[in-house]
Every structure is written in structure tokens, then in C-alpha cells.
């Protein structure tokens, strides 16, 4: 299905993988690590040629210095003695500052460097925070396709919450050591919840027995019926307890398979993989949208408060022809911002001001004569909007005619707009009947224009743009 879309390089990698060439496996891992998105067809084709799922994936996690690498090294030797081939992925943190990394976990397993049944690959976390790297999943797939019996995945040294490994491995081993804190640390949420098996390493150190007891006490509190993870003591530098660990791993696998957990785990993994492929593609679509192309302009508008993150999100979804669940309308520059004021026609301004100011208690912003409209106006603040009281200064005033026809009362609703010319154009395009095709100057020197009540369901609408 993807084959005709593959490059020659990709086809060569595939062929090399089928022939079990280590150089090709190594190059393929680099390739997917460096080209996550563009390598999707390659990974798709890999799935079709060599269906994955044959390797057991064992995750090893725990705090820095717990002895994960040494333990991993010993497990490699154990599986080699059983005649199994072992792939190993070691993840160390990438510097968020330089992008560089020191990948030094290998030091603890140099006995296996030249063993032909072992392949060890170090990876920088490259910005991922969950204990793995973005390409870990793919690297596992590639090793699986190559045909390892067991794949050991060692996470970065973790704190309390890096639990990604549990979504990646068939069995998760949490390595702990004495001296890290009291039993409260152990009952906390996070990594202590993800172990299928617990190892207390450096068990020759003081306090090891207490850590074992505390982990066991925590496990006693688990709901009945769930599989109880074993707790194993090891001294990985000496190899003590490794046989017990291996035996426990075997037992955990059998129980997990019997109970259906193994299968369920793998299904979850497949689903996660699908999700992450979709979201990676989706991320790409987004990065190529106008959102990023207009970054500078949007940043300016956002920081000036002229738009907000929610309406922009809706706007970009609309552009991509996707529904949004914010329920907001698409942003449109120049359209209505808020009600600026309500105009009320009155016969006697002084009396009306007295009522609105003194009785209703609105703050009087000022009065002025607007020659062009043949009115005297008083502005009173009400929240973010205003009440504009209008008294005609002559019989010729349009307000005088309004009063004559309909009596005192609401004369118009005024909306504030960003760009009055643009709004007028939009209204015209929308079929509205404009009284003013071009703006004129109103109270306070604002640019104003009127829209005929025939187009606005009976209310005279004023647009005003203020500076």
C-alpha cells in the first residue's frame, strides 16, 4: 500500500532489515528518529512486510542512580544464556538548552558490545518529558521486525510522574533503592502505580529491607483481584538476585497472558500509536496553516487585546473546515466590538440629565453641541457602554423629527467597530441599507455612520469608530 511511495533509501533499509543486517537496523532507527513524519509510509510498509509483535518488551524505570543500567546489563546476560537475542534501547536526557546529550548508559554493559545476539542503541529524549523519546516506539518496532526475542527499554532516570513506559512495554519493572525517602513517597501516585514488578536494588545497603516492606504494604492496599506485583531484592553490581528477577519476570508474563492483561496492554499500545500518528499529522497540518504564517500579526493583536486565544482557535478551525466546540463565532476584523451607547431622544436635556445622573446615579461624562446633527448631547457612563441623551437644537434636527413622529425614547443603538469603512463595506455586501455610505464626524470626534432601520428590524443603528 505504501511501497510505491518509498524512496530508494527506504527500500534499501527494508531489505537490509529483512536480511537482519545490523547496520541497516541502526540506520533505520536514525532515519525514523530524525524524520518522524516523513517516515510514516516507511513504518507502514515495514508493518506489512514483517508483522510486528513477536518480541517481549520489558521496560526498566526508576530514579537516576538506582542501578537501572547495571541491572539491564545483567538481564542481557541472563537472556543470552537462555539463547535469546536481545535488543536494548537506552534513553538519556537531552539538554533543553543545547539540544545535546551524553548517552552513557552503555558503560554498564560493555561485556555485550561484541555479542552478535545483542544490539544496543542509545537515544536522547529530544524534548520528550515522559521518560522516553518520540521515536522510542518506532525503534522498538524496528527491533521487533529485526527479530529480537526480548527488547529491554531503559527510561531516563525519572522522578515521580514519568509513566510513559507503561504505555510502551509489556512488562514494566520499577527499580528502587534504599535511602530515597519514607513510606509516603511510596504511596504517592505516579511511578509506584505502574510497576508489574518492583526491584529493590543495592539490597546490601542499609534500609533495603524497609523499602521492601513499604512497597509490600502499598501493594497490600491494592484492590482485590488485581495481580500482585512481586518485589525482588537485587545487588546488580554483583549479580545477586538476577536469577530471581528473571524468574519473576517469567511468572509475571505468564500471569499477564492468562489474565488477558498482556493482550489488553498491546491493544492499548496500538491505539496510542494510532493516536500519536494522527496527532503528528495533525500537528503538521496546523504548522502549515495560516496560524503560523500570521504569527507576528496575531501576536500583536493578542497582546493589544484586540483578539483572544479562544476566538483565534475557532477561527483557525473554521479555516481548516473543522468544527470547534467553543461555540464562538469566527473572528472578523472590523465587525462589531460592543454596544458603545444607546441614544435616547429627549425634549429637555437638563431635566433628563437630572433624572439619569441624580436619580439613577449614572456618571455624567460631559455635554456637547454636535453641529452636524443639530443636537446637544449628554453622555452618561453605564459599565462599558454609555447612554447618550439627545436634545434637538432646532426644528430641522432629525431628532426633532423623531420626537415629533414617535415621541421621546430610544433613538438609536450605537455599536463600536474597529474599522468603520470595512464594516460599512461588509454591511453593504450583506445587503443592508446604509444611510451613510461614508463615515462622518460625530460626538467626541468619532467617525460615525448610520444604518437604516429597515435593514435592522426597526432600530436605527449607528456605527462608531473611536481613536
Amino acid at each position: 500500500m505504501f511501497r510505491n511511495r518509498l524512496s530508494e533509501y527506504e527500500l534499501d533499509l527494508l531489505q537490509g532489515l529483512r536480511q537482519r543486517k545490523k547496520r541497516h537496523l541502526a540506520k533505520a532507527i536514525t532515519y525514523v528518529e530524525n524524520n518522524f513524519l516523513t517516515s510514516r509510509p516507511f513504518m507502514g510498509e515495514l508493518h506489512q512486510c514483517i508483522p510486528p509483535g513477536k518480541s517481549d518488551v520489558i521496560g526498566i524505570t526508576g530514579p537516576p542512580g538506582a542501578g537501572k543500567s547495571t541491572l539491564t546489563g545483567k538481564l542481557i546476560q541472563h537472556y543470552r544464556q537462555l539463547g535469546k537475542e536481545v535488543g536494548v534501547i537506552l534513553i538519556d536526557p537531552t539538554s533543553p538548552f543545547s539540544g545535546g546529550a551524553i548517552l552513557g548508559d552503555r558503560i554498564r554493559m560493555s561485556e555485550s558490545f561484541t555479542d552478535t545476539g545483542v544490539f544496543i542503541r542509545s537515544m536522547g529524549s529530544r524534548g520528550r518529558l515522559g521518560g522516553l523519546s518520540a521515536a522510542t516506539q518506532d525503534a522498538i518496532k524496528l527491533m521487533d521486525a529485526y527479530g529480537f526475542d526480548v527488547i529491554l527499554v531503559e527510561t531516563v532516570g525519572i522522578g515521580q510522574a514519568e509513566t510513559e513506559i507503561v504505555e510502551t512495554a509489556d512488562i514494566t519493572v520499577v527499580v528502587s533503592v534504599p535511602g530515597l525517602g519514607d513510606d509516603i513517597q511510596i504511596i504517592k501516585a505516579g511511578i509506584m502505580e505502574i510497576g508489574d514488578l518492583f526491584v529493590v536494588n543495592k539490597a546490601d545497603k542499609e534500609g533495603a529491607e524497609r523499602v521492601v516492606t513499604e512497597i509490600n504494604m502499598m501493594l497490600d492496599l491494592a484492590p482485590k483481584g488485581s495481580l500482585r506485583p512481586p518485589v525482588i531484592k537485587t545487588v546488580s553490581t554483583k549479580g545477586t538476585g538476577i536469577d530471581l528477577l528473571a524468574e519473576a519476570l517469567h511468572r509475571v508474563k505468564e500471569q499477564s497472558m492468562m489474565s488477558g492483561k498482556w493482550k489488553k496492554n498491546r491493544e492499548e499500545r496500538l491505539w496510542k500509536e494510532l493516536e500519536s500518528n494522527v496527532s503528528a499529522q495533525w500537528g503538521k497540518i496546523l504548522r502549515e496553516s495560516s496560524l503560523y504564517a500570521n504569527r507576528e500579526m496575531l501576536l500583536q493583536l493578542l497582546s493589544e487585546g484586540k483578539t483572544n486565544a479562544y476566538s483565534e482557535a475557532v477561527s483557525i478551525l473554521n479555516e481548516l473546515r473543522l468544527p470547534s466546540d467553543y461555540g464562538l463565532k469566527k473572528r472578523s476584523f472590523g465587525m462589531l466590538q460592543k454596544i458603545d451607547h444607546l441614544g435616547i431622544a429627549v425634549k429637555d436635556l437638563a431635566q433628563a440629565v437630572k433624572f439619569y445622573h441624580e436619580v439613577l446615579g449614572l456618571e455624567l461624562k460631559g455635554t456637547e453641541v454636535v453641529e452636524e446633527q443639530v443636537v446637544t448631547v449628554a453622555m452618561l457612563q453605564i459599565g462599558e457602554s454609555k447612554i447618550e441623551l439627545l436634545e434637538p437644537t432646532s426644528e430641522e434636527s432629525p431628532i426633532a423629527k423623531t420626537i415629533e413622529k414617535r415621541g421621546e425614547g430610544i433613538a438609536h443603538v450605537a455599536f463600536q467597530v474597529d474599522n468603520i469603512e470595512e464594516t460599512l463595506a461588509q454591511l453593504k455586501a450583506g445587503g443592508a441599507r446604509l444611510i451613510d455610505e461614508t463615515p462622518r464626524i460625530g460626538a467626541g470626534g468619532a467617525k460615525i455612520a448610520f444604518v437604516h432601520p429597515k435593514s435592522t428590524y426597526g432600530v436605527l443603528v449607528e456605527l462608531c469608530e473611536k481613536h
Partner: protein
């Protein structure tokens, strides 16, 4: 961000002086490279196998034991055997000037002797690794 250069910093031979290797590993890291460090006393076989599995762009060999004339050519020979001569190799440590032409003839790209600035080293790597 562009793809990081991957470098293997390796110490062949039997001397236990890894300070230089650690300094250069750290400098490469700060220059944004992914540095695989394998620790002391590595055989040429271990170094070449690691370089291949880790798919590094370059191997930096640090040696202070005086066995460079034996170990460096052996590493080049193994790379050739494994058809991995696209991996570049540089060396550093206590290496007499008169040995340098011979090592370069064997395919070692450059030898950095004591006193070299890490900046020059990083610049050299960047120039010789196409990313």
C-alpha cells in the same frame, strides 16, 4: 532544530585517564551533539561495534597509553571490514608529532594533541560531518 550530530567518544587501550575524554564529551554535548560515551578500556572491536549500532557520524578516540600506532589502524581496519568507512574518525591524546602522518595515512581524519581548544575540535567535527 536540525538533526543532532552523533559522536562516539571512546577510549581504546589500557590507560585509565578519562578526564580528556570527559571534557571533550561535555564540550560536544554543549555544542548540541549526542555523545555516546562507553567508558574506559575498550577494544577496537567493541568500539567499532558500538559505532555501528549507535549509527554515529564520527568516532573520537582518546588515548594516552602510547598504543595508538597499533590500536588506531586496527579500528580503521575493522570499519573497512564492516563496510562502515563512512564513519569519520578523529583522535586525541598524548600522540607524538612524528606519529601523526602515519595515523592520517591509515584514514584518521585529524589528530588533536594536548592544548587544542575544544572550540577548534567542535568546528572541525561540524565541518566534516554532513547533516
Amino acid at each position: 532544530m536540525s538533526n543532532p550530530i552523533r559522536v562516539l567518544v571512546a577510549k581504546p587501550g589500557l590507560d585509565g585517564h578519562d578526564r580528556g575524554a570527559k571534557v571533550i564529551a561535555r564540550a560536544f554535548r554543549d555544542a548540541g551533539m549526542e555523545v555516546i560515551y562507553t567508558g574506559l578500556r575498550q577494544t577496537p572491536e567493541q568500539i567499532v561495534e558500538t559505532a555501528i549500532q549507535e549509527d554515529v557520524d564520527l568516532i573520537g578516540l582518546s588515548i594516552l597509553s602510547g598504543a595508538h600506532n597499533h590500536l588506531f589502524p586496527r579500528i580503521m581496519e575493522l570499519l573497512k571490514e564492516k563496510e562502515a568507512l563512512d564513519i569519520k574518525v578523529i583522535g586525541g591524546g598524548v600522540i607524538p608529532d612524528e606519529d601523526i602522518p602515519f595515523l592520517k595515512e591509515q584514514g584518521i581524519l585529524e589528530i588533536f594533541t594536548p592544548g587544542t581548544s575544544t572550540v577548534d575540535c567542535i568546528e572541525f567535527v561540524r565541518q566534516h560531518v554532513q547533516k
